[in-house]
């Protein structure tokens, strides 16, 4: 196994593209090292991307934020403005593992491992985050929802690396939230995860909504029926009930060591309602602050 | 004479006998007497057992005296975690 630590993303991409054997990107490494240790993967090349400046910075852009793919969750969560704008996304990332894991783990690593239960992904999906991908054929931009395909499988081609994720500007009366269900209070993998982002008009009618759903299917889902149930309503109980039902209906979970089909399906709806209530509170607070924080 | 009560597996192995009388002044004599009356118990006794004499539990501590009229139980040897 070779270890490379290139200074540019182009060099990193070239290394990955030219490797005949198995290559892996090392960002936070909190998944990769566990896989290495257990013998699950035996790569021939590991490319450490933490020395690439564009991948290790958070930059304001068009009122939103571009977050480098190697930025750790801890660094992200110390960025006060980012946390104020996208608290749900940040909380999702903040739930990955322990404080120790937070110091290394990245949102993009979480995304590119393509685990259905990845805590940071439903929030990014709800926020309609866009990933910038660099590969042998140049740059492209792809909505986060389109990257995972199945556990361990993504739409990235050989030699492609996610360089950054862009979170657009949050609207004046907009709010997001992420809730997950775990049996303990920390350290577990989500049994269900729901990310919600809503926008309201001045009269409190929901004008836009996105609901991302984790751990209930082969990949993270965007639940359009749940969003439809919210849009046009004032997020009253009837709308929330309808949204919960749509969320549960979208679940295609399995029975495993972390939960049952029955449990995941029901709890997805329960958490979606709770998440919308938090997002609503945040949207109203944001509006009352004039669209700031 | 000491009245001995067998519990747990011992009772069944001894053919359903739950109590028996043995002339014994200490645990060693008690165990020898038991073996004589119930030879089936021999392998179990060899594996190690516990003897309760009036609410104090001993291992097969041969020379522990058994006062007359004391209450004696043969129980599984205790272990712990």
């Amino acid at each position: 196994m070779r270890y490379e630590s290139p200074q540019t993303i182009e060099a990193a991409s070239a290394l990955l593209a030219s490797e005949a054997g198995l290559a892996r990107i090392l960002a936070g490494g909190t998944d990769l090292l566990v896989q290495l240790r257990s013998g699950m993967v035996e790569p021939d090349l590991v490319v450490d991307v933490k020395n690439i400046p564009t991948m290790t910075s958070i930059v304001e852009e068009n009122g939103g934020y571009r977050i480098g793919a190697a930025v750790s969750s801890a660094v992200m969560n110390e960025h006060a403005d980012l946390c104020a704008m996208w608290p749900g996304v940040m909380e999702g990332a903040d739930l990955i593992g322990s404080t120790q894991v937070q110091g290394r783990a990245t949102m993009v690593g979480n995304l590119c491992n393509c685990g259905p239960a990845a805590d940071s992904v439903p929030g990014m999906v709800a926020a309609n985050a866009i990933a910038t991908i660099v590969g042998p054929n140049g740059r492209r931009e792809v909505p986060v929802i389109d990257i995972p395909v199945a556990p361990g499988k993504s739409t990235l081609a050989k030699g492609e690396i996610v360089e950054s994720v862009f979170l657009p500007a949050q609207v004046k009366r907009g709010g997001d939230a992420y809730l997950r269900f775990i049996p303990r209070t920390e350290m577990d993998i989500a049994v269900v995860g729901v990310g919600v982002n809503i926008e309201l008009d001045d009269s409190g009618v929901c004008t836009h909504a996105r609901v991302g759903l984790g751990a209930v299917a082969i990949k993270v889902l965007l639940v359009e029926d749940a969003a439809k149930a919210l849009i046009g309503s004032k997020l009253d109980d009837a709308a929330l009930d309808k949204m919960a039902a749509a969320t549960s209906a979208a679940c295609k979970p399995i029975n495993d060591k972390r939960g049952t089909i029955e449990f995941r399906t029901k709890v997805a709806g329960v958490l979606a309602v709770r998440a919308v209530k938090i997002a609503l509170e945040r949207a109203n607070k944001r509006a009352s602050n004039g669209g700031e924080k | 004479m000491v009245q001995v009560t067998l519990s747990g597996t011992f009772q069944q192995v001894a053919g359903g006998i739950s109590t028996l009388e043995i002339e014994a002044k200490n645990i060693r004599q008690l165990l020898n007497g038991l073996e004589k009356q119930c030879p089936e118990l021999k392998p179990l006794l060899a594996n190690g057992i516990a003897v309760a004499i009036d609410s104090t539990i001993y291992r097969d501590d041969w020379f522990q005296p058994i006062p007359t009229d004391s209450e004696v139980f043969i129980i599984p040897r205790l272990a712990g975690g």
Partner: protein, 771 residues
């Protein structure tokens, strides 16, 4: 040694030695050091990272040992080909079953540390290599070819008892059944306890509740994986460094498995990173010794966490039925239970201890318990804190709580009405001596926690529990150093602060400050045989050995003073760390301190020491009562522990901090067992959650502070009144939490763990049933 069968006609020898010193109530009134909370002697090394645990030892030229493990839960091992592995550069030895001779004394242990004809569980050791690096050793494991013939497997206790179940051992005939079965089965043994007539008892009851319960297998979850370094010299002289609760036991078993004299193997117990019963046996130690013997170099083996889960010893899972009858005014008329425990691939599930302790909290006229010890294709179980008791007591205490509700009586009141006390005939046979159940129940009832208000979706649970405690073979030595300090050697590894307790007891006896005493855990060549640190025995039995050794040293110091003063030894007494003339008739002399006597020891007869070797009998039982407040999220089944109080009888708390620590640690292990911990097996017989990620032990944010109340009802069999405290704390929590959750959820939960899917299903099923 065989007993002489002729001896029974001989007169009884004089009582050679009574193994206990009785409780001294007068001394207890004047304790100076006992009951204080000084810093522990090993603390500094542990907060700075200097303490050396199992994996921290390095021997010169040391190799890395790794073990190849079966991927199959049940398979015949047709052949093992190690030629390619042996040929790999850097590989210094490879061993398989062929490297161990049959061993009648430790047959099951032998079969467990290295599979023989069959692999009996996923993770069962098949072969091992020692190599110059971990990378080489890993490569070598991959080169070992094993031809398996896969057999059907069984991991569930009830399924394993079925007549058509896959059979693990062709020669397993159930013991304890008359007449003996003619066919083999997976039931290793049946045992029965109790007295009276349960049917007659139930006939007197106004309310009878009978329920089925299940608990999952759990792991002790010590943070330090098993690790050892073995070094076998060309002359056969061997040393072994390992983390264990019982290095003398390790020496005995390893010497036997390797066919060497005990005197040739010196075992040193490292600092031990948790045991809870799981480090009372051997797993990797004989393998490391065999690899070292073959390689001619030291070999270190350290288990991975995955190996700890798959191939060390978790506790039993259980399936149980309990039936209890009670009169309207709260008199329990009869109790009956059947307890089926699977303990993995070999006999030894602690079903009998479960059956014995199930009803131990109650004074019953009619009680009957039956235990089944069952084998399955899971790793061989090991002891886990009060082995067998938490499960059976969970079942009984759940029914007790329900009965209290049925007859409208406060659950502590119901327990007090029926509580076992001194003189009660125990459910397992003998009468109880002095014991403190009633005191713990009264303290719980009077605790502010018990009457604090509860909010919506919250429920309070109470349960009591019991553990026997025991003593065992013990010895220790105590040396008075020339500078007046004291060095103690014990043979019981310190898993919870026992070295501090030893220092306290010696300081108390000698009348010197705690800081002048130091205790070490001696290796197997430095001290006589000691039973393992288990059964909550160390503070009781090693402590009593230290007290006895101190008293012997005191006697000698009085002798020395008497010689110096030229008066008879009987005319000298020991008081506050000084030898003094016992009265006016003895003469007028300035008292001599321990340090003064020690300073002249070389001129008054040489070194001064005390030692004591004995069978420590007279361990007192310990009862406890726990109160817990839980909150259940009715929409998700999530359970939060809001408040927790442990009340337990310690006899006498030598170092109260570590007594509280035992209570708190036991309670939290119980919380894990009750709520989320479990061995989860797939259809393929493989463990699905062999890691801390999905085994789900409690983390700091899951818990409130754990309040403790130390009740002290002295054990008459110890000079200071000490009872073992380590194990009882894990017995009540399973039931206490089940009672709390059932109250909060409005439905009785009867299966552990009460994980959210299970709780939510129970709530939803109850709603459907109610409609």
């Amino acid at each position: 040694m065989a007993r002489n069968p002729d001896a029974d006609s001989a007169p009884a020898p004089k009582a050679v030695k009574t193994s206990t010193i009785e409780f001294d109530a007068d001394k207890a009134k004047t304790f100076k050091v006992v009951g204080s909370r000084p810093p522990r002697p090993d603390g500094m090394d542990k907060v700075t990272g200097r303490a050396r645990f199992g994996a921290d030892m390095v021997m010169p030229g040391q190799l890395v040992g790794l073990i190849l493990r079966s991927p199959h839960p049940h398979a015949v091992i047709v052949s093992i080909d190690t030629t390619a592995a042996e040929a790999l550069s850097g590989v210094k030895s490879v061993i398989t079953r062929d490297d161990f001779a049959e061993n009648a004394d430790h047959h099951d242990v032998l079969c467990n540390i290295m599979a023989r004809e069959k692999a009996l569980y996923e993770g069962h050791a098949i072969a091992a290599v020692a190599a110059t690096s971990k990378a080489v050793a890993r490569k070598a494991l991959k080169l070992i070819k094993v031809d398996y013939q896969i057999l059907p497997h069984v991991t569930d206790v009830d399924l394993a008892m079925a007549p058509d179940a896959p059979l693990l051992h062709a020669d397993m005939i159930t013991s304890g059944v008359t007449p003996a079965p003619t066919k083999p089965s997976n039931i290793a043994g049946r045992s029965e306890f109790g007295h009276g007539d349960v049917e007659a008892g139930f006939a007197l009851a106004d309310v009878i509740i009978e329920r089925d319960f299940k608990t999952a297998a759990t792991h002790q979850g010590y943070i330090e994986p098993h690790a050892c370094v073995a070094n076998v010299g060309a002359d056969g002289m061997s040393e072994l460094w390992c983390c264990t609760q019982g290095h003398f036991h390790v020496r005995q078993v390893c010497a036997s498995l390797l066919g060497i004299d005990v005197s040739r193997l010196r075992v040193t117990a490292s600092e031990i990173g948790g045991g809870f019963g799981g480090k009372t046996t051997v797993f990797i130690e004989p393998v490391a010794l065999a690899l070292s013997r073959k390689a001619g170099r030291p070999v270190k083996i350290a288990m991975s966490r995955d190996e700890v889960f798959k191939a060390s010893g978790p506790t039993a899972s259980s399936s149980m039925n309990v039936k209890i009858g009670v009169t309207k005014d709260g008199h329990i008329t009869a109790g009956e239970g059947e307890f089926r425990y699977q303990g993995g691939a070999f006999a030894g599930a602690p079903a009998d201890f479960g059956a014995m302790s199930a009803f131990a909290c109650y004074a019953l006229d009619n009680v009957k318990t039956v235990a089944y010890d069952v084998v399955t294709n899971r790793p061989k179980g090991a002891a886990y804190r009060a082995p067998g008791a938490p499960m059976s007591v969970y079942a009984v205490e759940s029914v007790i709580a329900e009965l209290a509700g049925e007859i409208g009586m406060d659950p502590i009141e119901l327990r007090l009405k029926n509580a076992a006390r001194e003189g009660t005939k125990s459910s397992y046979g003998p009468k109880f001596g002095s014991c403190g159940l009633v005191e713990t129940l009264e303290a719980a009832r009077d605790h502010p926690h018990y009457s604090a208000p509860l909010g919506p979706n919250q429920g309070r649970g109470v349960a009591s529990g019991f553990w026997f405690n025991f003593g065992g073979e013990t010895c220790s030595t105590l040396n008075i150093n020339a500078d007046g300090t004291v060095a103690i050697a014990v043979g019981t590894p310190d898993i919870g602060g026992s070295r501090a307790a030893m220092c306290i007891m010696a300081a108390e006896e000698l009348g010197i400050p705690y800081e002048r005493v130091r205790t070490i855990v001696a290796d197997t060549s430095s001290l006589g045989y000691n039973d393992t640190t288990e059964g909550s025995r160390v503070t009781f039995s090693s402590g009593m050995a230290v007290i006895k050794a101190s008293r012997k040293a005191v006697t000698e110091m009085c002798n020395r003073a008497a010689m110096i003063w030229d008066i008879p030894a009987e005319a000298v007494t020991w008081e506050d760390g000084h030898a003094k003339p016992s009265g006016a008739n003895a003469g007028e002399f300035e008292p001599m301190s321990l340090a003064e006597i020690a300073a002249t020891a070389s001129k008054t007869g040489g070194p001064i020491a005390g030692h004591h070797e004995y069978n420590a009998d007279g361990a007192g039982v310990s009862f406890g009562t726990h109160i817990v407040d839980t909150e259940v999220d009715p929409e998700t089944g999530r359970v939060d522990i809001l408040r927790y109080t442990v009340v337990q009888d310690a006899g006498k708390a030598i170092h109260p901090d570590y007594v509280e620590g035992q209570f708190q640690g036991g309670a939290v292990q119980g919380i894990g067992w009750a709520l989320n911990e479990e061995y989860i097996y797939g259809e393929d017989g493989r463990l699905q959650n062999a890691g801390f990620l999905d085994y789900r032990m409690p983390v700091a944010s899951d818990l409130p502070m754990i309040d403790t109340v130390i009740v002290e009802v002295p054990n008459p069999g110890h000079p200071y009144g000490v009872r073992g405290v380590g194990e009882t704390g894990i017995v009540p929590p399973l039931a206490a939490i089940a009672n709390g959750v059932s109250a909060a959820a409005g439905v009785r939960l009867t299966e552990l763990p009460m994980s959210p899917p299970r709780v939510l299903k129970a709530i939803d099923d109850a709603k459907v049933a109610a409609q």
